[in-house]
Amino acid sequence: MAKGYLALVLHAHLPFIRHPEYDSFLEESWLFEAITDTYIPLINVFDRLSKDGVDFHITVSLSPTLIDMLRDELLISRYIKHVDKLIKLSEMEIKRTARDSRVNALSRMYNERYIETKYVFSEKYGNDILRAFKKFQDLGNVEVITCGATHGYLPLMDLHKPAVRAQIKVAVDIYKSVFGCGPKGVWLPECGYHPGHDEILAEFGIKYFFVETHGILFASPRPKYGVYSPYLCKSGVGVFGRDLESSKAVWSSKDGYPGDANYREYYRDVGFDLDYDYIKPFINGDGARVNTGIKYYKITGRTDKEPYDRKDALNTAADHAGNFMFNREKQVEHLSGIMDRVPVIVSPYDAELFGHWWYEGPEWLEFLLRKIYFDQETVKTITPGKYLELYDKYPVITPSMSSWGYKGYSEMWLDGSNDWIYRYLHKMAEMMTSDAREYKDPTELYRRVLNQMARELLLAQSSDWAFIMKTGTFANYAVNRTREHIGRFFAFHDQLERGSIDMEMLESAENKNSLFKEINYEMYQ
């Protein structure tokens, strides 16, 4: 039997971005890049491990907005065009780099990867990669969990409990529609926990969630096992704390693996490096240079960049996987000597780190899972749902309010750059609740309006907008999106009051913000 467990958690999320009113839209490429660089490479890793009989266990949270984008026909058709363009660009690159064998080998690598990506996306999984995650869940390797409906940051929503509840209810409904059962766990958006929200999770049958390290360490009463055992809230829902040591190994720029000189450099992309006329058909529609995904350099150092060497990079990934496993073995050996139960190390990461930012991340994960299975007996992988089945009793605590954002609380989403949104979000939640109570037996048309109001509210609550306003990059888009949802919500509310519905606006809104098709505004009653 293993002396301890490692619970790897990958949180996959992107905000809902879909612009049918444009032929192409820059921010839609966030999804396309994530599919190409992260989701399909991870699926390929899971497929290879499964084929080779490796017994691995990992948790993946898929946010409801991501799920709805991954099954949206318009975005799927645009994604296929996107991959076709990448295939074409990589073909041109093979010709362009013919005289440089090292770079040419990379051009060929990209070409092969893009062709394989299209095959996996379109043919193997029939344009529905959610099927892949369901398959791995059914095989018992992946525990897919949910998140808030639109990744709304719940601690700052606490004033209006029906709004918190709606974020969870919609998420659970979306999850059931894809996976045919309720989610065992939830990744609270931004790992943001407010005492009492576990009761809402319990209402929907959710068995566990995660908090940042100090959410456990500052809990009451004092947690006996630090972050190396789950606890139960009074509601009966389990809570796991993030392990800092293993998180740092991957996240840290000073000591973290992704900063190794052999890994691929993210910031040198042919979208910026090559002649404008040559690259123009493959960059943004408005002519602005963007990353294409084809990159030929390794991190090297801070100044001169050397050509990327795939073999060296993979050897480094294997070394790093070995180092990570060794450190977890030591950690577990130490913990098992002082704990009276089997320790579990919880290591959550954003899924998009793997492959998109850290190009070799998926391979690192594959090496790690193979090594854990084949090379030692001290540590085994586990999912939180499985760990909770190990013991009959767990200590009961109230975790502390916390998040995994800047300073560990809510400053990231509440500061001078974004605080203006809360008077709107709170008012919208208040009005949604009162409208839901007022219109108990509406006409079909009114029901459509009320449902669209619920969608606009949920979309305005997405933590991504406040985050982007804070960081400054793409702030214009975040401000406009927030204002757009607020404006539409209040317009519909006025139309309900006046008894005059603007059909053109309603149909346009339903077409554009088409997520959560089965939403029922009555959840706000």
Partner: protein, 206 residues
């Protein structure tokens, strides 16, 4: 104090490209409410926003004048609400003079895990306070280890602090400083919200 404050930050944006979509729907600046809302940011900071109606303000001013007093200033009073106590009469922790048509305020508090509420009102020249609106009550988290023990799950102090240290207890906050640098350097083209949020340090500065 205006009944409807205009928040300049609504127009602020650091994006360099012009928005490609027209945002034609107006968003209201106020709703005719007379209220103040209090939120918790962290163990050391609260945030309050408010909307006060002119007729309510005028009524209070008349009340002040009726008493033969003179209006001095608009004031925000932060109250330390004891468990089970009413806000009324709770001790005032701090007080701020409101200027320049403010309609929101960040309020520094002590790290205590206590409950808080705020009153917004008008003070006379004699220092008498007249209420315009009272907020909801919030509880700020306590930044520190709980003093409460569970007898069923007790362990020695030595072991407890050992687990605390191994869990990274003494490193909490380190990541925050590093995050500040991260924010300056973060993605130039693409990111997911959670990606940066969960970072302990920047991975893009190699």
């Amino acid at each position: 104090m205006p009944s409807c404050g205009y928040n300049e930050s609504m127009d602020s944006s650091n994006g360099k490209r012009a928005p490609r979509q027209s945002v034609s729907l107006p968003i209201p600046e106020c709703w005719g409410d007379n209220k103040i809302v209090l939120m918790v940011r962290d163990p050391w900071m609260l945030y309050a926003y408010w909307e006060i109606q002119a007729d309510v303000e005028n009524r209070v001013i008349k009340e002040i004048e009726k008493k033969g007093l003179v209006v001095s200033k608009s004031v925000l009073k932060v109250r330390d609400v004891m468990d089970g106590s009413a806000v009324e009469g709770s001790p005032v922790f701090s007080s701020f003079d409101l200027k320049n048509y403010a309609n929101s305020w960040y309020i520094q508090i002590e790290n205590s895990g206590k409950k808080w509420a705020v009153d917004i009102g008008i003070e006379s020249t004699t220092g008498e306070f007249f209420l315009l609106a009272r907020s909801n009550i919030v509880k700020a988290p306590f930044y520190g280890v709980s003093g409460i023990y569970d007898e069923e799950w007790m362990c020695s102090e030595e072991l407890y602090y050992k687990m605390f240290a191994i869990s990274g207890g003494y490193g909490i906050g380190t990541s925050s400083l590093e995050m500040r640098e991260t924010m300056k350097r973060r993605p130039k083209s693409w990111f997911s919200s959670g990606m940066s949020s969960g970072m302990i340090e920047d991975t893009s500065s190699f």
